[in-house]
């Protein structure tokens, strides 16, 4: 751990985390009024990031557990970094939920007075379970005791369905709400699983490339190409699901078409079209060719585009639902914000408007930095200090040089 503090990048992360925590303390003292949220748009950046990071954590655990469940031996080589990544991301997702609640001092009521019809309660249970499985996975994988291999086999059989479930339940927080036209669809859970697969795999590929470049952990070039192929397939599935949803919204020309208009040509259009073009079409067109999957630069570029695309999807999915209240009429919704307390026209808004504030953005960056610190610290202990045997030097140095070329 002490060696980490000699690295400038690590110190930057620590500084960002400290700034974020300071802003969070400010938020605890002042209230969620320091964010851009209001009664008209009651969820914002934190919930967007929660959705994103639950998804990002998928790729790792799904790749690692598929190695055992489907006997894909080659995936075992990257199981360790994959599960560390998965653990760090689910911690970040959990942090965002806790940051978003207004009364964290009363959170223990979730344990002593649970309401089992609430998807948020299901989510709390499944995220805790998921985190426990990730940690057990890491413990068994790093164990050198007799039988540890067998324990990994067993836990992976639970890990895969729980990973699918964690995304489905996160989707159901939104997808079961009939009040929100943009969310209420049976395909939301499959969409969440698909975008978790593609964004999660994309992040895994970025991290593996980074580790390759640093020379700390080498991944076989063929394996990178295989994972990129898997990413390409996941992008196609994600695009298919989104296409199904958009067509179903558009076709009757009823309420769904109004919601769709906000996405296609309204305030959410930049996010929607970036996702479709930048997050789905371009990376798919790159990765569909086997030759491109062998280039670390193109793989990383596609992966970054996929992650940004999924981020944009979380943004339009969340904010479109709040854009127009079901009951319209002047003067609209009393916002309840600091500005609204002053009275006058600032109290009201006909529509849901949301722009994140500076402290909100700092808190978000801080939470992500904490995640990066968690990843780095565990990786330092489990990955870099242990000598991984599967590297084949000639191929790896080639990837390393390509990765340096893009950096």
């Amino acid at each position: 751990m002490t060696t980490l503090f000699k690295k400038p990048a690590f110190i930057v992360l620590v500084v960002l985390a400290v700034v974020g925590i300071a802003c969070w303390i400010y938020q605890l003292l002042t209230g969620l009024g320091i964010t851009g949220m209001s009664n008209a748009n009651s969820w914002g950046l934190y919930i967007i990031m929660f959705m994103l990071f639950v998804g990002l954590s998928a790729g790792g655990l799904i790749v690692a557990s598929s190695a055992s469940v489907f006997h894909i031996k080659r995936f075992k080589a990257v199981a360790m970094p994959a599960v560390i990544l998965s653990t760090a991301c689910i911690c970040v997702a959990g942090m965002f939920v806790l940051i978003d609640v207004g009364g964290i001092q009363r959170i223990w009521w979730m344990l002593i007075s649970p309401n089992f019809t609430s998807p948020l309660l299901w989510d709390m249970c499944v995220i805790i379970l998921y985190l426990v499985i990730n940690i057990l996975y890491l413990v068994f994988m790093s164990s050198k005791k007799e039988g540890a291999e067998h324990k990994v086999e067993i836990i992976s059989r639970f890990a895969l369905p729980i990973a699918i479930l964690v995304h489905s339940i996160t989707a159901w927080i939104f997808g079961l709400q009939i009040a929100k036209e943009g969310w209420y669809t049976a395909i939301l859970a499959p969409i969440f699983v698909a975008s978790a697969m593609d964004s999660g795999l994309a992040l895994l590929l970025c991290v593996l490339s980074g580790l390759n470049k640093s020379g700390k952990f080498k991944t076989d070039k063929d394996l990178m190409a295989t994972l990129s192929g898997l990413l390409c397939a996941c992008i196609a599935v994600d695009a298919f699901f989104i296409g199904c949803e958009v067509l179903t919204m558009a076709y009757p020309g009823a309420g769904g078409a109004d919601t769709l208009a906000i996405m296609l040509s309204g305030s959410m259009a930049p996010f929607f079209w970036f996702e479709v073009i930048g997050g789905l079409v371009i990376p798919f067109c790159i990765l569909v060719f086997a030759k491109n999957r062998k280039s670390a630069a193109l793989v990383v570029t596609s992966s970054v585009l996929v992650i940004l695309g999924v981020l944009c999807k979380r943004i339009w999915l969340l904010l479109t639902a709040f854009a127009v209240p079901n009951l319209e009429g002047a003067p609209g919704v009393a916002l309840g914000t600091f500005a609204a307390q002053e009275g006058g026209a600032a109290t009201w808004n006909m529509y849901g408007l949301y722009v994140p504030t500076i402290p909100e953005i700092f808190i978000t960056i801080g939470a992500i930095s904490v995640g990066a610190i968690i990843f780095w610290a565990i990786a330092q202990k489990l990955l870099i200090s242990s000598k991984e045997p599967q590297a084949s030097d000639s191929v790896d140095s080639q990837i390393g040089s390509e990765a340096s070329a893009i950096a």
Binding site: G31, V101, G102, A334, G336, A339, E342
Partner: protein
């Protein structure tokens, strides 16, 4: 069983906002939010008209918690802070509210307000009824159908204060109550019936 509800005669509503103000006073509702909003229909201008000249019209829809029989907010609340009480009202136990705002996402009527910061009151004291609980920052709140008043057999403040007697309050389970008769006679309807929430607040034209 008792199932408290309300019926609102839209023809009688003159958009005076007396109910909104009376509610704010009675329930100690802080600045920047209202439990009961009087919406002007079909326009983005308060007291504006809808239609095309010369065929203009003006009407109002007072909106507060609809005290649904199938409340979406209660279903999603992770701690059971929101509950359906024995008189059929949807109520909040503020001590249990963790401020996750799941209920606000689930409510189709935007009936809920959140205490985004320390509540501010103008004038600067608790002007609400003396038995009305004071809500801290970080909890959701909404119309309680004047729980403290209706428990004592009094009418909710919005009903009492309406100068045109547009609102009738009573027990929906009693077929002989004024409200039950009004609902069947006037062919009353509920807001957003397609949401399946089965509101206990009814309207008629």
């Amino acid at each position: 069983m008792t199932k408290l509800g309300m019926v609102i005669d839209k023809r009688r509503c003159i958009g005076c906002q007396a109910c909104a103000n009376a509610c704010k006073m009675q329930n100690n509702v802080p600045m920047g939010m209202l439990w009961n909003r009087v919406l002007t229909d079909g326009t983005d201008i308060v007291d504006g008209a809808f239609g095309v000249y010369p065929n203009l019209n003006r009407s109002y829809t007072p909106v507060a918690c609809q005290h649904c029989e199938n409340p979406a907010c209660q279903k999603v609340c992770p701690t059971g802070a929101t509950y359906k009480d024995d008189k059929g009202r949807v109520e909040i136990d503020y001590d249990k509210c963790i401020g996750c705002r799941m209920c606000m996402a689930a409510c189709p009527y935007n009936a809920r307000s959140f205490n985004w910061e320390e509540p501010v009151r103008d004038p600067d004291f608790n002007y609400g009824g003396k038995d009305v609980p004071v809500r801290p920052k970080g909890v959701a709140e909404k119309c309680t159908m004047c729980q403290e008043r209706t428990d004592k057999g009094e009418e909710p403040m919005c009903v009492k204060s309406c100068p045109t007697k547009a609102r009738v309050f009573g027990d929906l389970d009693d077929p002989n109550s004024e409200i039950s008769k009004k609902i069947s006679e006037k062919n009353a309807y509920t807001l957003l019936p397609e949401q399946g929430t089965r509101p206990q607040v009814h309207y008629y034209n």
